[in-house]
Amino acid sequence: MTGVPAALAARLVVERGGFRLDAELNVAPGEVLALLGPNGAGKSTALRALAGLAPMADGRILLDGADLTTAPTEDRPIGMVFQDYLLFDHLSALDNVAFGPRCQGASRAGARARAAELLERVGLADHARARPRALSGGQAQRVALARALAVRPRLLLLDEPLAALDAHTRASVRSRLRRHLADFDGAAVIVTHDPLDAMVLADRVTVIEEGAVVQDGPPADVARHPRTGYVARLVGLNLYRGEADGTRVEVVGAAGAPARIAVAEPCEGEVFVAFPPRAVALYRERPDGTPRNVWELVIDGIERFGDQVRVHLDGDVALSADITPAGLAELGAGSGERVWASVKATETRCYPA
Amino acid sequence: GQVDAGGQAAEQTLTVFAAASLTEAFEELGERFEREHPGVAVEFGFAGSSDLAAQINQGAPADVYASADPATMDLVVEAGGVDGEPEVFARNTLEIAVPADNPAGVTGLADLGADGATVALCAEEVPCGAAARKVMDAAGGVEITPATYEDDVKAALTKVELGEVDAALVYRTDVIAAGDAVEGIGFPEAESAVNDYPIAVLREAPQPGPAAEWVELVRSGEGAQVLGDAGFTTTA
């Protein structure tokens, strides 16, 4: 984190119950940060701390140079979308969205006009007068989104803003959100479980696990060089950590026994090795030929996956393989059966740990 | 502002604080007073004597205080609230009140001590209770164990009217006010506990003149007649 003057520079330390969050978040002006992490990692807690809703045990929040660490919530120039929406049930959708502008001193008519415009933008102009309870889950979340955008925040905090949206609405709200975020010169932090959201919307990704930052970088980097099992699964890669010696990497296998993976480019020391599931070929019999990585593994589970089939395998090296339904039929093996898996060394990527 | 019978605005308002038991008699006298004193309106504050004493001692803007009990009048006198000496203008004596059909067949004080009769007495802290104590002592040790020591004579009377008790010791004025629902039985020992009603003009009276005239009216023959109709015995 050098050079770029950060719009948001924060170290968040929050303690609650047995859980402790200690994470540093930095977002440049106009940048969108995606916060990824497994359930219970502390993503919502981090957003709450940024909003001034969770007390910080330590740390500091700087936004556009101003210290917000102890600023009360209502004085922070933020907009927030909550994981469970929290729409005011006694107000119509329109008045929910107009609430923020009203608080900022807009006239009733002005606030409503802005609210109407934002509802239009999220495709809910027809539901302006509906009460939140009369909205479907997806509609409610779009109103929440509009409500947060209505205050023209300098820091936008979004807790899974697209989770309740159907595929189509999601794509369209996502691209509208992206356009809005592109115009936006403040900082935005968006929590999402969908790697696609992160890839499309975010300029940078910060991954939190158990309250601590485990990885941070541009989405493509993170996708290509996952550093934890969680990230690897998220971006759909098989990931291993081991000791490299040239093009041979010694990794710790699933059973604890060491296993070896051949890689294309030589590397040294502590490294990660990753390869995509579709790079794995499966055979009934031990294959001959070029692939230097061949393991005999047991099928642990089979899932349909789009127009592919994902086969989970266990053994010296645990991995997932994506094959076609036709391929699976040809293989003629089911759960619990032993098969051979091969991966070409050129399909693997090796990078320092 | 107050409007008198003739439709002209009253120039003066006389404020009389009086024990609630005087309500009917004083309202009647008030009409006469207003007739005789054009330009003066009489306003009453009826409440329990002790409430009134407390109000006066806290600076209530009253001209006259008529109490049902010398002891409560003394509270005001001790606080220096009375102009001159209080004067007794009426007396009240106890009677035995029984429901109209007198279910327990009460004829005199002695019947109240008998087993089986449910009796209400006033608590000794209130005037009618103190009087009851006196008559029991005078009757030579008739000891009545009541079901309840009422703190308000009207509460005792109401229980008689509803037949919840067979008898109660209350004032004659109360029996008369209650009409047909209640029968009053006089008894000789009542003479030993006559209750005096004192009246006084107050020291901080805003209208001392009319106040004195009011006291005069109450103590006059005219006043005595009205009070007598209500069951009081009078000094006039």
């Binding site: 001034g52 007068r129 | 609630a20 306003e43 409430d51 803007p61």
Partner: protein, 275 residues
């Protein structure tokens, strides 16, 4: 009185009502019967023929009017002062909050007549505060219509405060957090979020306060006196009628009751939450 599914504006009605909830309905019916049976007793005993003439008496009309006006003003004042107090108790934490909350119940526990004495001690012409007011302005509060309102506020406001506090405490705080992120100050949050969410509780508190003010007797007669047309409210008129006969008192009480029932029945289920 078979409970049916409500036509609730909020959620759709239930499709069917299920097993009959005797465990709830039975005690509810007993409770209701207990509260209204005495009322029926009064109705039976009331001297109906005299009711009409009573109603026409100007003193009764004056007393009724005074009662309704003062109780309504008292409720208004109690709302303005009491609702913020309820908020303070429910939503902030200051040293001694529990003691403050308990102190709010003082006027409930104190016998009203003593409450009236206490008011005199403070606001009377010789009172702790009243003496200065009287010395400087010549104004004296007791024995005026304003004193009636003050006595009613004193006696009835605690009901409002305590029940609104309960309602505010029960409201989901996360909505207040959401409002704060939208830039709402605590006052705005309270006015535009907390209060509408707690509306049923506030309405309940206002009904309690109004009814209690309407029925207030002891503090009023002590602090405001018993002057027809000025401070004689219906309960005071009832007290004087009681000097004559319980029947007269019953008739006046019923007059007060019917008027208050008519007003309460006329009230909507909820005032907020409807566009």
């Amino acid at each position: 009185m078979t409970p049916r599914a409500p036509a609730g504006r909020r959620r759709g009605p239930r499709v069917a009502s299920g097993r009959f909830p005797w465990l709830l309905v039975l005690p509810a019916l007993i409770g209701f019967a207990f509260l209204v049976l005495p009322f029926l007793g009064l109705l039976i005993r009331a001297p109906w023929p005299t009711l009409g003439t009573r109603l026409l008496m100007p003193e009764v009309r004056d007393a009724l009017g005074l009662s309704l006006v003062t109780a309504t003003i008292a409720t208004g004042i109690a709302l303005v002062l009491g609702v913020p107090l309820a908020w303070l108790l429910a939503r902030t934490d200051f040293p001694g909050r529990r003691i403050v909350r308990a102190l709010v119940t003082v006027p409930l526990v104190i016998p009203p007549v003593v409450g009236g004495v206490a008011l005199l001690l403070v606001f009377g012409r010789n009172g702790v505060i009243g003496q200065y007011v009287h010395a400087w302005t010549g104004y004296s509060l007791p024995f005026t219509s304003a004193a009636v309102v003050v006595a009613q506020v004193f006696v009835a406001m605690p009901f409002l405060v305590i029940s609104v506090e309960g309602a505010v405490r029960g409201a989901d705080r996360r909505y207040e957090e959401a409002a704060a992120t939208l830039g709402a100050t605590r006052s705005t949050i309270f006015r535009r979020v907390t209060l509408p969410m707690a509306a049923p509780g506030v309405l309940a508190g206002a009904v309690l306060c109004w009814s209690r003010a309407l029925g207030e007797f002891g503090a009023t007669i002590m602090f405001a006196g018993n002057f027809p047309g000025r401070t004689q409210t219906m309960p005071l008129a009832v007290y004087l009628a009681m000097q004559q006969s319980p029947e007269a008192a019953i008739v006046l009480s019923l007059v007060l009751l019917f008027v208050s029932l008519a007003i309460l029945v006329g009230l909507r289920d909820r005032w907020a939450g409807v566009a």
